[in-house]
Symmetry: C2
Subunit: 445 residues, 2 copies
Amino acid sequence: MSLTNASPLDAAQSAKSASHILATLSEADRNDALTAIHAGLTAARDEILAANAKDLDLARQAAADGKLSQSLVSRLDLGKPGKWEDMLKGILDVRDLEDPVGRVTLRTRLDEGLDLERVTCPIGVLLIIFEARPEVIANIAALAIKSGNAAILKGGKESTESFVAISRVISSALEKTAVPNGAIQLVTTRDVIPQLLALDKYIDLVIPRGSNELVRYIKDNTKIPVLGHADGLCSIYLDASADQSLAVDVIVDSKTNYPAACNSLETLLVQESALPTLLPPVATALATKGVELRCDPASKEALAGTPNLKIVDATEEDFNTEFLTLTLAVKTVSGPGEAIAHINSHGSHHTDVILTSNQQDAEKFMNAIDSAGVYHNASTRFADGTRYGFGTEVGISTNKIHSRGPVGLEGLMIYKYKIRGRGQVSATYGEGEGKKRYLHERLPL
Amino acid sequence: MSLTNASPLDAAQSAKSASHILATLSEADRNDALTAIHAGLTAARDEILAANAKDLDLARQAAADGKLSQSLVSRLDLGKPGKWEDMLKGILDVRDLEDPVGRVTLRTRLDEGLDLERVTCPIGVLLIIFEARPEVIANIAALAIKSGNAAILKGGKESTESFVAISRVISSALEKTAVPNGAIQLVTTRDVIPQLLALDKYIDLVIPRGSNELVRYIKDNTKIPVLGHADGLCSIYLDASADQSLAVDVIVDSKTNYPAACNSLETLLVQESALPTLLPPVATALATKGVELRCDPASKEALAGTPNLKIVDATEEDFNTEFLTLTLAVKTVSGPGEAIAHINSHGSHHTDVILTSNQQDAEKFMNAIDSAGVYHNASTRFADGTRYGFGTEVGISTNKIHSRGPVGLEGLMIYKYKIRGRGQVSATYGEGEGKKRYLHERLPL
């Protein structure tokens, strides 16, 4: 790992060169590097926490001056119970994942002695732009090395001391391994993000880890593919046939389990015929958790007799809003068809749910909704790499190509085609007289 | 199919709506539409060829005035022997491919009665921008419908009459099928490409089919992902251990089989120790086919005694040039390591080859070269979807995400995650006391 005062261009070029070496390393070489990083960080605990304390002092001062939020200060703190241990365990967890490099996903005999193979390989150079969490650097370094990708890391200025301390340790740990210097580059100079985002010749994928604003800024300012999502406007459609207690449980969990998360519920679509039956108990349960409802006229009227609710008249804008707080927009629809149309045009294609006891409607909904996650009778909050069993999560993508939904190590891979021949030439093959035909025989993987 | 005088925005919005319906159609519905298109075009042969004749008349006139190339006129001609029949056969070939929609690629039991499934689905809306070949419209309409994607087609103005005639027929054929109007939109108004390229809210993927200039223009002017390649600078590294006649065959085929193709050879890297042995017979064979060599000093000197060659001193620029003609840049390298470094920094990551009898060097080369195709002892010209056995080819991609190399129907697909539950909520699960653990049990596909 280099601590670059180098220019973004130098950092990107040297990351690219390193990526070409990384791509050829064995699984053992890459795993050994993660073991070395783990050992190095373990030994340097005190030194890193001391650096982190400096960041924290500055941040607390800034928070006291009203220049920084208290939640950001909290995210900075590597000394919080369990955080350091989780960071270290994460490195070994990544190391112990199945090797994503070199998996053969297609094998075709084109002709005798002319075999085609599709093999997974690293994408190349990742640019990771993240905000305050200093533990991300260890997590991302582990993911990058495991997947054979080089990474350029640009962190928020609030955690500079922590980043530099962690990366010094990673750097000297890597020196004794086969992973080349330059494979993990930490850029600490300020205001280089626009320059980095212009380096599409060297950087193959940008992964922003931070606020919606950060992601949106990056998506709007680069030609490099961006893996992530700016918005998480998740909806639930509540059908009149749904089981009442099931509906209450799923809606309450989706909305209140962690309202600031991208996989939290923002819009509830209620079938008209469910207004008198299912909506009141759902609304009561939500109110108990402190949820304010932004209701359309029909749903408001249906709740007129229910006590202790916080109800506000919904505006059109509420149905396009990711509240990220204990606020829920409620709209009445005639049935699944109208719900599908609403979600496809107002949602953010993240995760959407149908609550129904009608199996056929559920399958239709899941096929018709154009989102990364489509669930029947389950909480939106399951949209998460760890919950999906991916072992680790690079991010959640609402892109329509490459990776969609929670992205694990697989999202950092692409493939190449290898052909092993004996001097065959294309002119030999074809449809004409005297030409050979291709065999195109599928071989076992 | 709509023949839109509609605005690009209207076309894109209606394509998006249609894509949501298309995504829910059964395989039979989509295949029936292709059968109907085939029947419609078969019946309308004379009418379409008459329209094509009008395009041809104008084009021949323009060619006579020096405003259009003769090769473009030739590409326009649907009446050329076999072209019409190939176009029609292509539709049925696509219809008979395995259904790419709804393939389950991952199945995990998160808990009893809570199953996660990853299922292939269409990307959404494709924008296809192509130049003169009128048959592309039928080909692309077939690929789009088969894969459940909507498509907006923008063709070159030289073939407007042909496009309109073909799309009228497709349009009325589709009317009797389940494929919605708006699924295939032909935009015939001029100068709308910049407007279309700005509609990233509705269009999910751009596929340019045409010149390098067209592809480069599109890549430089949109935030929508582009599937394609602007350059095809393919290289061969000739190791001293290579078999002589094998080397001659592969290099001659790679360079001369179809010099204008993106998978043709542009740079030959020769191991220094092979200069006196292998280069002269290779150069002689190339000269017989009319190839001019742009040689570095060492390779030029090695060929000093070989008669009948066309040799020019190479400039640095020659090693960054896709000639697309019978010109080949020749450079001397010390061995595979230097060849790998040269190709990774000068190539276009399309297809590169090592000719060697050393198996270990070959494997190292194929792992280290950062290209879509990496071959051992085979011609660069095999880089082609048909030759790979993909049945049809959407294009060749040098992207580092989603699809790489020749792209078949798979490249038009993404996936979504479905969860089928019984009302489970996320708060139930976790590491703490009283919490359930996820099962994360892999289920058979």
